[in-house]
Structures are given as C-alpha cells and as structure tokens.
C-alpha cells in the first residue's frame, strides 16, 4: 500500500510514517499542510505513480479548522480511486457528512492509531474502496431516537448496525460479537427489513446504503 501523510505536527507525522513503515507499507510522501498535499497528489498522479491512501489531519495551517476535509473533498473529486482517511482530535460530523457516504473514505479519531492492528486494517479497507468510520461517529449516528427508525431496533440489532456502518464484514462482526455468522446474517436481515433497506450481497454497497439511510434520518428535524 502506497501512503501519503499530511500532518502539520512533525512528531506525529514521523510517528505515523513509522507506523505504516513498521506495518510493511510504503510511505511515498509526508507533507505539513493541505496545499502541499494536493500538489503532491497531483504530481504523483501526473507521474503515473499511483497512491493508494491519503492520511490527512483535519486541522492544518493556515486556519487550523477544516483544511483537511477540504483537501479530502478535492482529492476525492479529482482522483476518486484514492482512499482518503481523515484523522481528527475530536468528532465533528458537520463538515464530513457528505463524505462518509462515499466509497474509499474513512474518518477516525487520532488516538485510534495506537490500536495499530485495527488502525492499519481500517486504512487498508479505505485504500481498497471500503469505508472506516470511527465507532464514536457511528454511535452518534445510531443513537436511538424514540420516533426514528433506529428506535425500532433491538439493542443487539443496533450493535450489528453500528459494526456494519463501521465497514466490517459479516464474519468480522461475528468475531467482534462472539456469535456465529448465521446469527449475524439473521440480525442483518432484520435490521435491513426494519429500516426498509434493500438487501444486497455486496457488503460494501450495503454499508453505503446503511450510512445513507442513517444520515438522512439524522438530518431530519
């Protein structure tokens, strides 16, 4: 996996590079701000040296607000094939709402990097066109609402939904919940029925449908 890292803090930038390197991946470039990131990606693509994943900090110079998200959006527009993993100190869904339903997009809290195995797994998922949403982002999306469709789900079904939304496969969910694959499949059928989402064998498209549904539900007043 060829990785580009955009992070303004040098220590963290080096740490991330080392992490991917230790995990057996190739870090092709590290930059300190969004402008350099877009330049770098454009140059790489022009030179037909592909990049699989961009890891970008959400707050970067000059204003330290949402430069990372803007850069991610630009990259997804210009090069939809590149996976973009946005890292943030805290959860702010306002600016990323339109991105979470795209393929090859991830949004994780920075401290997830310390869970090296999970982090690298999520990074690979995003690089392969999957999604990786932080459990805390998902938790905010699947918060039970008395009147909403999520309110009709059982607690177990909500757990399954959350893991689906994170981008996990059926068997990964089964492992996480210590149940059999068949049980997970049954839960998923119930969830999709209750939420009125058409079932599909393509796990990735299923996740997107679920996220789209959740996003629409949370945006309603």
């Amino acid at each position: 996996m060829r990785v580009v890292i955009a992070e303004d803090q040098a220590l963290l930038r080096e740490g991330l590079a080392r992490l991917f390197h230790d995990g057996g991946h190739e870090v092709v470039a590290t930059v300190g701000d969004a402008e350099q990131l877009i330049d770098q990606i454009d140059r790489l693509m022009a030179a037909e040296q592909s990049a699989d994943l961009v890891v970008v900090d959400i707050r970067m110079p000059p204003t330290f607000t949402t430069e990372g998200v803007e850069a991610a959006r630009t990259i997804k527009q210009r090069h939809p094939g590149i996976g973009v993993l946005v890292l943030s100190q805290h959860i702010e869904t306002a600016h990323t709402a339109d991105l979470v339903t795209q393929s090859g997009f991830g949004y994780l809290l920075k401290d997830r990097v310390l869970d090296v195995t999970d982090f690298l797994g999520a990074a690979e998922r995003v690089a392969n066109g999957g999604s990786a949403l932080d459990p805390k982002v998902i938790a905010r999306l699947v918060t039970p609402d008395q009147h909403g469709p999520v309110g009709r789900l059982s607690e177990r079904e909500r757990d399954v939904l959350a893991l689906m939304a994170e981008g996990l496969t059926n068997s990964a969910i089964a492992q996480r919940l210590f149940v059999s694959d068949r049980t997970v499949e049954a839960h998923i059928r119930h969830v999709l029925t209750k939420l009125d989402i058409p079932d599909t064998s393509d796990a990735h498209r299923r996740v997107l449908a679920v996220l789209m549904h959740l996003r629409a539900a949370t945006e309603q007043p």
Partner: protein, 652 residues
C-alpha cells in the same frame, strides 16, 4: 410698541432738559410751600412730579416716536410748574406779602385742566402709542371737553373757595353758567374715564404675549389708583397709612409704565396682581373673622373679656392659612387662568403618577403642553446626554431643576422661556418629583444596559477562553501524547529485531513526556498561576522575571481577597503583554498598593502609547471583570507611554 430686549437707555437731550426743568421747579415748589401746608402733601407731590417726569424721560429717550414718554414728561412738568410751583409761590407770597399771590393760587387751582385730558390720552394709546381706532378720538375729545368745563366751572365759581388762603375765590366770573358747566362737564368726565378705561380693557382682551403683559401692568396701576384715591379724602386725617397708600398708587402709574415699556421682569406681573388681590381678600376675610369672633364671644362672655380677644385672635389666626390657600386658588382661577390650569394639570399628573396611571417620562410632554413650547427639553443629570448635560446650542436658555440642594436636571426651551420662566418656576416644585423619577429611571436603564452588555462580554470572553483552552489541549498535549503512543508502538515493533534502536526510541518518548508536562503546566498557569497562592507580591515578581523586558516591581506583601488578587494579576499580565507586544516598551514599572479599602495596580510603560479600552478586547474584558467586582480601570495613554491603573475594592 415692543422693545426687543433690556439694554441701557441713552438719555436724549430734550427729554433730559424737560426732566431737569421739572425737578428744579419741584425743588423750588417744595422750598416755597414747606411749612405752609401739611408736610405730607409737600412730600408726596414733591416726589410725584419728578417720578412721572423721570419715567417720561426714560420712555421718551428709548421710544422718541411714541407719545407716551412725552405725555408723561408733560404730566410731570406741568404738575411741577403750574400746580406745585404756582401753589407754593401763592402760599409764600400771601404770607410774605409778595405780589400776585392770588394769581399763583388760582393758577394751581385751574392747572388740573392741563393734566386731565393727557392722562386719558395716555390710557388710550398705551402701550402702542396709537389709538385703537379713530373712533376712540371721541373719548379723548370728551376728556378735553370735560376738563375745560369742570375746571372752568371750578376755577371761576365759589366751588374752589377752599383752595384759597382767604377762603374766597377772587376770580369769580358771574356771567358764566358754572352750575350747568359743572353738571355737563362731570358727565363728559365720567364718559372719558369709562371710555379710556374701556380702551385698556379692549386692548387687554385683544392682546397676547408681551403687549398683554404690558397692559396688565398699567391696568394694575390704574385699578389700584381707582380704589385708593377716592378713599383718600375720607381717611386722610384718621389713618396716616392712607397717606403712604396715596403716594404709592400715585407712583404706581409711572413705575408701571416704565416697567411695562422696558420689559424688566415683565413676566412677573401676573404674580404681582394675583398676590395683591389674594392678600387683599385674605386681609378682609381675616379681619371679618376677627370682628365677628370678638362680637360673638363678647356677647357671650361679657364685653371686655380678655378671653374674647384671645379667642378672636385664635380664630383669625386659624382661618388665615386655609383662607389664604382658597383665596390664592380663587384668584388664580379668575385672573390667571393659564397658570391655574397648568398647575391643576401638573398636580393631576402627579396624582396619576402616584396611582400608577401615568409614567414619569410623560412629564416632558406635559410641560411642553402647558407651556405651549414644543422645544422644551428636560436634560437629566448625570446621564443627561453625552455632552454631560451641557445644553445644546440653539436652545436659547435653560432653567435648573432642583430637589433639595441637588441639581437633578436642566430644562432648555425656546427663546420664549423668559416669558414662561415664572410659570415654570411655579410648576417645577410639583413636577420635580416626576422629573427626578424619570431621571432615575433613565439612569437605571442606562446602568442595566451597561450591566447587560458587560455580562454579554464576560460570557463571550469566557467562551473565547474555553475555545482557546480546548485548542491548546487538542493541538498541544493531546497530539504530543498520541505521538508518544506511536513512539511506544514503534519501540514495541523494534524490540523484535532492533533492541538498541528501541532504547533510543524510548528515550525520545520520555523526553516528549517531559515536554508534555511542561506544556500542561503552562496551560494551568494561564488559568491561574499557582504562585498566587503565596500572594500577589510573589506572583507579580515571578511574572516580572519571565517578562522579555526589564520590569521593576514595587508591590505590597499584604493579602487580599482571592478574586481581587487574581484580577489584579491578570490586569498586570494583560498590561505587560500589551506593553511588550503592542507598545514596544523597553521598560515597565509594576506597582501594587493597598489604598483606602482598595487594591490599586498600576502598570506604566515607556512604549508608543495610544492605547484605548475600546481597541483590543483584552483591556475591555478586564474592564468588565473589574466592574463586576465594583472596581474601575483607567488607561492614560498619550503620545509616549501608557499607564494602566486598576482599582479593586476589597475588605482587607
């Protein structure tokens, strides 16, 4: 005739000459007749002629085209020469055996003819100097006819015998029908008197503004004369005070004319009239009560009872105050309707105010209404306006409003205020309470607004502070901890195949932990420096040591409240930061002293100056923080150097 304003009168030559002649003639008359008639006569007429001539001199000098001044000069001069001087000569000549004594006496007797008609004319043309219309000429003609017939019949018949020392008129003209002349003449006299008085009444009725006030003066004098003078002959000998009254009413006319013509305190004529009438009524009623009480109690208790006298005195005294109030109100209602109505409306308003039916702020509209002056404005103190209560240009004049000794407001009005000053002076004691309440409410609103905006700013400052803190934590310590975590993970990875490298990585991670601890300490220090626990003095000295420029510290080691010390510390911090960052100061002096129940912090720099509390939210935020503690922040910043002084009240 309306004079523009009060200004010094420059005496004209001819009127002055006439006045001098009058005065000399009168002086001679007084010298000649002294001791030969009652001294009061001599004195009264000795004053009367020069007084009316002096009034004529003033009026004729100021308004030479008006007949009024000249008429008065004529009245004074003719009275001095043909009446007083002639009479004096007649009396002295007969005593000393000088020639033509009788001629003198007769001239004095008949000289009234010269004054009677001019007096009517004076009434007819006052104050414009012109007749109301040509028809009024007939009144003047009646006056002339009356004076010729009456004085003719008097001077040439035995009617005037008493005027002569010998008790007999030596100039009898037998063939004159003096009785018929007397009757017809008196008829014309009454007609002329009624007619000229009617002229005044008609003018008074039609007039307004200044002319009305002028007329009120002369009418007042004429009415006073009409009441007192007929009583003179009857009471002259019995009551000496009557002589003084006659002198007063005789002088009243020239004085009234002068006052009216020169508008000197013209606006008080209403008060003069109403007070005169009401005190007259009060006197009459009180005397009546006294007499009735004496008679009644005397009949009951015996004629000479001292109890009766005492009781009557008590009754009269008890009646005085209510009678005075009733009489004043009656007179005001009858003679000064505007003032009466205005007072009633203001009293009604105050009553409504007390019952919650009116708002104190309506007092301005009310005063505008009752004074018919839409420009009238109340300027409250101390928050009258941004100019600190200085009455704006354009408003001609202003009037202070006091409650007790305190000046609570000023009233500005149009240039017509002078005519309403007296009315306002009567209204303000009543309206003052409403003005004061309105002023207090305005000030209260002002202060509430200030408190609200200051509270909003405090909240905004607190929010901003929280945001800054959150950012510092996220971007500082938290990032650093994440990178330390990453370093540890890397070391974990290295332990498998590069153990010496892992040792270096761990060393670096521990170094990062030391930096993170420092960062957290700085952050906590920004919230509240821990050195403040040992006192403001040590905290300020530590602040000075960390500053990038030399800072001299002069601080008390006394302890104050935690709030006061923390606020003082942040004032010093902010001022020091500004001095270094914005003012480019080379040296800063820091003082903290306890001064009469307050902690005073002063930070003086030698920088470029030009600091204001509105620029820079830092100082503004501190000012708000100080005002929350009841303190003040003053910034003295000129072309060079800035001194920030904070005064924080505290118990210790």
């Amino acid at each position: 005739m309306v004079s523009e304003s009060v200004r010094p009168v420059r005496l004209a030559a001819l009127p002055l000459a006439l006045f001098v002649v009058t005065a000399l003639a009168e002086a001679a008359a007084v010298a000649l007749s002294w001791g030969l008639e009652p001294w009061t006569d001599t004195a009264i007429y000795g004053v009367y002629s020069p007084a009316i001539a002096a009034a004529g001199l003033l009026v004729a000098s100021r308004h030479p085209r008006s007949p009024i001044g000249w008429l008065m000069l004529w009245l004074g001069g003719s009275n001095a020469v043909f009446t007083d001087l002639a009479q004096g000569y007649g009396l002295r000549a007969i005593e000393r055996g000088w020639p033509a004594g009788r001629v003198g006496e007769w001239t004095a007797t008949s000289s009234v003819v010269m004054q009677m008609a001019p007096t009517f004319v004076l009434w007819l043309v006052f104050p414009t100097g012109r007749l109301l219309s040509r028809a009024w000429m007939s009144v003047a003609a009646s006056g002339v006819v009356a004076s010729v017939l009456v004085v003719g019949s008097y001077s040439f018949s035995h009617r005037s015998d008493s005027e002569f020392a010998g008790g007999l008129n030596p100039y009898i003209v037998e063939w004159l029908p003096t009785s018929a002349m007397w009757v017809v003449g008196n008829a014309f006299l009454v007609a002329a008197m009624v007619g000229s008085a009617a002229a005044l009444v008609v003018r008074l009725h039609r007039s307004n503004g200044v002319e009305r006030q002028q007329l009120k003066y002369i009418v007042f004098a004429v009415v006073a004369g009409a009441i007192v003078l007929p009583l003179g002959p009857f009471l002259w000998d019995r009551y000496p005070i009557m002589r003084a009254m006659v002198a007063i009413v005789l002088l009243a006319q020239p004085v009234a004319v002068c006052v009216a013509m020169f508008r000197y305190r013209l606006y008080d004529v209403d008060r003069v009239i109403s007070r005169t009438i009401s005190y007259g009524l009060v006197t009459a009623v009180t005397v009546g009560v006294y007499v009735i009480s004496v008679v009644t109690l005397g009949a009951l208790l015996g004629r000479t009872s001292a109890v009766a006298t005492a009781g009557a005195t008590l009754a009269a005294a008890a009646a005085f105050r209510p009678v005075r109030r009733r009489a004043q109100s009656l007179v005001d209602r009858r003679f000064d309707r505007n003032r009466y109505d205005a007072l009633r409306r203001v009293e009604q308003f105050i009553d409504d105010l007390g019952n919650g039916r009116a708002a104190p702020e309506e007092v301005e509209a009310l005063l505008r209404d009752v004074t018919s002056d839409q420009e009238l404005t109340i300027h409250h103190r101390p928050h009258c306006d941004d100019t600190g209560g200085v009455v704006t240009a354009g408003a001609a004049t202003s009037l202070p409003v006091r409650r007790g000794h305190a000046l609570i407001a000023t009233i500005s009005a149009s240039s017509a205020l002078n005519e309403r000053r007296s009315l306002l002076n009567d209204l303000l004691p009543h309206a003052g309470v409403a003005i004061e309440i309105a002023g207090l409410r305005t000030e209260l609103r002002h202060q509430l607004d200030e408190v609200e905006s200051s509270r909003a700013r405090l909240v905004a400052v607190a929010d901003e502070e929280r945001r800054r803190l959150e950012r510092d934590l996220h971007d500082g310590a938290q990032q650093r901890l994440v990178s330390i975590g990453l370093a540890l993970r890397h070391a974990q990875h290295q332990l498998r195949d590069d153990e010496s490298g892992a040792g270096d990585t761990l060393d670096a991670a521990v170094g990062e932990i030391a930096v993170a601890i420092d960062e957290l300490r700085e952050l906590a220090h920004g919230l509240r420096p821990s050195t403040l626990d040992t006192g403001l003095g040590p905290a300020l000295r530590e602040l000075a040591q960390r500053a990038p420029v030399p800072v001299t510290v002069d601080t008390t080691d006394a302890r104050f409240g935690a709030d006061a010390e923390t606020t003082a510390y942040f004032v010093a911090c902010e001022a020091l930061t500004n001095a270094v960052k914005h003012a480019h100061a080379n040296h800063v002096a820091l003082h903290a002293t306890a001064s009469s129940g307050a902690l005073v912090v002063r930070v003086a720099d030698d920088g470029i100056g030009g600091a204001t509390p509105t620029r820079g939210s830092g100082l503004r935020g501190l000012a708000d923080r100080l005002s929350a503690l009841g303190g003040t922040l003053t910034i003295d910043s000129g072309r060079t150097g800035t001194t920030v002084t904070a005064r924080i009240p505290c118990a210790s």
